[in-house]
Amino acid sequence: MKLFKKQIPLAIVFVFGLVTLASYYVPHRTSEEYLDVMNSWENIVSAFGFFLGLISLFYAHYNKIKRKVDGWGYSLFVYIGFLLMVIPAVYSNGKQINPDASITWLGWAYRYIYNPLQATMFSILAFYIISTAYRSFRIKSLQAFVLFVAAFILILGRIPVGQMIWDQLFGFTKVTTGQAIDWVIGVPSTAGKRGIMIGVAIGAIVTSLKIIFGIERQYMGKD
C-alpha cells in the first residue's frame, strides 16, 4: 500500500518534473509533442482543481448553518449568491450577449450583481488609506523620510494640479513631474525591487527543486 500511497506519487512528481524541465533544453519535435499533451492535460486537471475550492466553501458554510453558529443566517446568502449566477448561466447557456447584441440574463447578473460587489469590496480600502495617512504615517527616521519623499513625488506628480504646483516650485530645474517619476521608478526603486526579486526568484527555484525531489511534500497531506 505504501507503494500506491507514497512511492508512485513521488515518482510521478519526479518524472513529470524532470521531463518537463528537460523540455526547456530539448528543441526536438518529440519534446514539443510531450508538452502539447501535458499542456492540454494540465488544463483539464486544473479545471477540476477549481471544485476543491467550491466544495470546501460550501462545506464550511453548510456546517455553519447546520450547527447554527452565530450569524449562520448569513451563510445562506453564500448559496443565494451562487445560484444568482448559476441559474441565469444555465438559462442563457453560458452566453452573456445575445446575437442581437443585447445582454442575456447572465450578462445582467454579471453587470448588476457580480460587478458592483467585487468592485466595491476593493474600493473600500481607499478609505483606510486616508486614515492611515493621517493617523499612522509617521516620519520618525531618515529612512521613513526617504520613503515619504518618494511617495510625495508620486502622489503629487500623478495629478494635473500637482504638475502645476511642481512647475511653480521646481520649474527652475527644468525637470517635469513625469521625468521625476520616471527616474524614481526607473532607477533607485528598480534597484530596490531587483534586490528583492532575486531572492524571491531563487526561493521559488529552491521550492520547485524540493518538490521535484520529494523533499517538500506538504501539498500531499498527511498519511
Binding site: Y25, S131, R135, I196
Partner: protein, 420 residues
C-alpha cells in the same frame, strides 16, 4: 569564494568546448550550372531548433561588395516552385545577426547567413525531415546572376546549445541546493542574528512593565506559506519570552490549521520557559476566515484592550492597513514582518520595527534551525552572492572592454548571461 571561482572556470571550459560539437553540420552539395559562384556557398540545417528552419551561408568576397541578394527556396526537386524568401543588400544579414551565443555559432561579419523559416515560408506546419532546394540571385551593377541550386535537409535537433548557460546555472544551483539540504540537517550553517529580534525583547519588556497584554497577529496565510511557517517560529520565541516575564499574550487567528499549529507551539514555549501552568487555552483564539471580518474584529480587540505591543508577522494583504493603523493610534509598540512587497510601506510607516521580506524567513530560520528554512535561505544567499560577484566583475570587465574598444569581450560577457 573558492567554489564560486571553480564553478566559473568549469562554466567557461564547458562553454568553450561546446564550440566543437555544436557547430552546424554541412550536408549540402553544390552543382555548378550558373553564372556566378559564391565562395563557400552552403545550404544547411538551422542548428538547435525543432526542425523548422534551414540556413544558407556564403562568404563575402570582393566581387560581391556592392551586390543585392535575393534568396529563393523550393521543396520540389525539379527546379520549380521557387518561393522568394528575402532580399537584402550586401553587408546585411550576416552571421553576426543570427541570435545565437558565441559558443554555439560562429558570428562572423564576413559570412552571410540567411535563416530559412519554412513554417513561415510555406505557412504550414513542417514535418521534418524535409528536403529543400535553395538558390540566390545576385544583382550586381545592374546585372542579374544566379547561383547553382543547393539542396539540404532540415532535421529536429536534440539540444538547445544556445541555452547551455541556463543549464549550467541550473546545475550549479542544484548542486548548491543539495549541499545546503544535506548540511542543514547537521545544524552547521551560520545565519546572522536579525536586528529585529532584539526589538522583540524590548517590546515584551515594556509590556511587562506596563502590565498590559501583547497581541500577536499571524496574518491570513495558510500553513504552507513560508511566511506563515516563519511566523509560527517567531511566535514560539515571543511566547517563550512572554512566559518568562509572566506577561500576557493573545493570538487571534484567521486559519484554523494555523491555529492548531500555533497552540502546540505556544504550549511548548511555556513548557520550555518552565511555566506550563501559566499556559491558557484562550491564548489562541479563532476569529474568522473572512478577510474583512477578521480585520474588523482584531481592530475591535486592539482598541478595547489597548495592548502594550502588537506583532504583525506573517502573510498580510489589505488588512495590513486596517490593523497597523489602529495599533498605532492606541500607542502600542508595533513590530511587523511580511514578505508581501506592497504591504511593507504601510507597516514601515506605522510600526516601530519591520522585518522586510526575506528578513522574516531569516528570523524564522535563525530561531528554529528548521532544515527546510535554513537550506532555502542558504541557496538564496548563494544566488545573491553569485549576483553580487558577477555584477561587480562583469561591470569592471565591460568597462575595461569599452574603454579599450574590445567589442569581442563585451560580446562574450553578455552572451554568457543572455537568455535565448
Amino acid at each position: 569564494m573558492k567554489t564560486t571561482k571553480l564553478l566559473f572556470s568549469v562554466f567557461f571550459i564547458i562553454s568553450l568546448s561546446s564550440f566543437s560539437f555544436c557547430s552546424p553540420k554541412y550536408t549540402g552539395n553544390s552543382k555548378t550550372v550558373s553564372a556566378i559562384e559564391l565562395k563557400n556557398f552552403r545550404a544547411l540545417d538551422f542548428p538547435y531548433d525543432k526542425g523548422e528552419s534551414g540556413l544558407l551561408t556564403w562568404e563575402n568576397t570582393s566581387d560581391i561588395m556592392d551586390a543585392e541578394f535575393t534568396v529563393y527556396v523550393s521543396t520540389l526537386s525539379d527546379n520549380s516552385g521557387w518561393i522568394k524568401v528575402t532580399s537584402f543588400k550586401s553587408g546585411e544579414s550576416t552571421a553576426e545577426k543570427i541570435n545565437l551565443p558565441f559558443w554555439s555559432f560562429e558570428k562572423d561579419k564576413k559570412i552571410y547567413a540567411v535563416p530559412l523559416e519554412f513554417n513561415n515560408i510555406l505557412s504550414s506546419e513542417i514535418k521534418e525531415p524535409l528536403s529543400y532546394y535553395a538558390k540566390v540571385e545576385v544583382l550586381k551593377s545592374g546585372k542579374k546572376y544566379e547561383t547553382s541550386v543547393l539542396s539540404s535537409r532540415i532535421e529536429g535537433n536534440w539540444f538547445r546549445a544556445d541555452r547551455l548557460n541556463n543549464l549550467l546555472f541550473f546545475l550549479v544551483v542544484s548542486a548548491v541546493f543539495f549541499i545546503a539540504v544535506s548540511h542543514a540537517k547537521k545544524k552547521g550553517l551560520f545565519i546572522r542574528r536579525i536586528a529585529g529580534l532584539d526589538a522583540i525583547d524590548e517590546a515584551i519588556g515594556r509590556a511587562t512593565e506596563m502590565g498590559k497584554p501583547i497581541f500577536y497577529v499571524p496574518g491570513i496565510g495558510a500553513m504552507s506559506q513560508i511566511s506563515t511557517i516563519a511566523s509560527t517560529f517567531v511566535l514560539g520565541e515571543v511566547s517563550k519570552k512572554v512566559a518568562q516575564y509572566d506577561s500576557y499574550i493573545k493570538v487571534p487567528h484567521y486559519d484554523p490549521i494555523v491555529m492548531t499549529v500555533s497552540k502546540e507551539i505556544v504550549k511548548q514555549a511555556y513548557t520550555e520557559a518552565e511555566r506550563p501552568d501559566s499556559y491558557k487555552e484562550d491564548i489562541n483564539v479563532f476569529i474568522s476566515s473572512d478577510q474583512f471580518s477578521y480585520a474588523a474584529n482584531v481592530d475591535g480587540m486592539i482598541s478595547r484592550e489597548k495592548p502594550a505591543a502588537c506583532f504583525y508577522i506573517g502573510y498580510f494583504m489589505a488588512e495590513s492597513l486596517l490593523l497597523a493603523e489602529v495599533g498605532a493610534s492606541t500607542g502600542a509598540i508595533q513590530i511587523a514582518g511580511t514578505d508581501v512587497d506592497h504591504q511593507l510601506p504601510f507597516f514601515f510607516t506605522a510600526c516601530d520595527y519591520t522585518l522586510i521580506g526575506e528578513e522574516l524567513y531569516a528570523a524564522g530560520a535563525y530561531l528554529s534551525r528548521e532544515p527546510m528554512l535554513v537550506s532555502a535561505l542558504k541557496v538564496q544567499d548563494f544566488g545573491k552572492l553569485i549576483f553580487m560577484v558577477s555584477v561587480t566583475i562583469f561591470s569592471i570587465l565591460l568597462l575595461i572592454g569599452d574603454k579599450l574598444n574590445w567589442d569581442g569581450l563585451s560580446q562574450i560577457l553578455t552572451d554568457l548571461l543572455k537568455v535565448y
